[in-house]
Amino acid sequence: MLSGLKHSLIEAFQAVTPITAVVIILQVSLVSLPTVTFLRFLIGAFLVMLGLLFFLHGVKIGLLPMGELIGEELPKRGSLWFILLIAFVLGFVVTVAEPDVRVLAHQVDVVSEGNIGRGLLILTVALGVGVFVCMAMLRIVLGTPIAYLFAVGYLLVLLLSAFTHPNFVPIAFDAGGVTTGPVTVPFILALGIGTTSVLGGKSPASDGFGLVGLASIGPVLGVMLLGMIYR
């Protein structure tokens, strides 16, 4: 436990030093920020480092084992429907809870001049994530090559981008990033690794990843579909 904490401390220090150094170098050479802003940056850097230390350690001993435990439990129930249902619900709920989704909903509300309300957008994006996490689990069980799913997903994205309202295209592409916050990512990563570690003939290294990536296609497609309706 203590050595793990020490490891996280080194990691947090290594993570925050470069960005702090770049800002300090710019401050003394090219730009001079007002003293208050610069001071706030330095205090912020300290908080960020302290925060990373706790976060990294906490995730490793808390969130990751939780995700893995649920992942390992899923196949033991012996029902594909159970796995798919849990995957869908998890994807949906986690997205509704993601703070960035509300920011996105607000932006879409503005761009669509109020025609696409916040509730509708959050529902669409959450359904998108739910469906794609579900498909990701299905592909793990069936052994479908993941490249097919990505190819079909992104071809659809490119196709829809030609038909949707132009203002929705950049928002849709950005929407992919909003469902993958720092709480969701460790949990979903661990879920995939847990599930593949107990399924016969699968290994976490070759089959466990990809859930986060697939989950980010859902919202892109969802927002583009809304843009087509708006058009």
Binding site: A15, A21, L26, S32, I61, P170, G177, V185, F209, L211
Partner: protein, 243 residues
């Protein structure tokens, strides 16, 4: 002095993190009651970890919001007003790199990859490849903001190249690459790099800061996919050479 006390206004972030963490805890709670039934001591340890992660994320996000966001915007404005606009391109590169290095979920991805591949793919390699990819694409994003190139010119060819590379890349790297795409768009990169870009767009005028800011995240999401799939090609090429 009042400016510095803003760090104490922590309520908003506190609620955000609690709301994001809540459903996962509820979910795990239901699993524990109905299926897992783990011993209490084990659960206590997990809960300790979650509490640490909670406190850590609140501190991290507060530091980014109160400390980094205003600095980023202000720097964007100052740099956008300077005579040599091209300087934004290398600065974008530098910030893309160091912001990714400081991204929490990127660290976790690296950790999981190293663990799952039993050390075959090192966390450090993932981190550096990812950060380099984001650096190149943020530099491109700055170029686009300064010279007003539409986002489609980058995103559409980018995804076509990705589709082409899918055929040749080892499936493990494909999965990790797409996961990394979602992971790179974390709070540090999005807030700090976006603030910089919005600051620049504001001072350059005649362009909408909102629409210009959009699309940068799309570029950041695409970067790790390309760079990690390239890493995958490199790994399989080296393996073939050795065989």
């Amino acid at each position: 002095m009042n400016e510095l006390l803003k760090f104490l206004e922590i309520g908003e972030i506190l609620t955000e993190v609690a709301v994001a963490l809540g459903p996962l805890l509820l979910f795990f709670g239901l699993f524990q009651v109905f299926f897992l039934r783990l011993p209490a001591a084990y659960i206590v340890n997990l809960v300790k970890g979650v509490c640490m992660a909670f406190v850590g994320l609140v501190l991290f996000l507060q530091g980014v919001k109160v400390g980094f966001l205003p600095a980023g915007t202000e720097m964007g404005v100052l740099l956008g007003a300077s005579e040599n606009k091209w300087i934004l391109v290398p600065i974008g590169f530098a910030f893309g790199f160091v912001a990714t290095i400081a991204e929490p979920a990127v660290r976790i991805l690296g950790f999981e990859v190293e663990k799952a591949t039993s050390g075959f793919i090192r966390a450090r390699v993932i981190l550096i490849t990812l950060a380099s990819g984001v650096a190149v694409f943020v530099a491109m994003g700055m170029f686009r903001t300064v010279y007003g190139v539409p986002i489609h010119y980058f995103v559409i060819p980018g995804y076509l190249i990705i589709l082409g590379m899918l055929r040749f890349t080892n499936p493990t790297f494909v999965s990790i690459a797409f996961d990394a795409g979602g992971v790179a768009t974390g709070p540090m990169t999005v807030t700090f790099v976006m603030a910089l870009s919005v600051g620049v767009a504001t001072i350059l005028g005649n362009r909408s800061p909102i629409l210009d800011g959009f699309g940068l995240i799309a570029l950041v999401a695409m970067a790790p996919i390309l760079s990690l799939m390239s890493l995958g090609l490199l790994y399989s090429w080296r393996k073939r050479k050795r065989a």
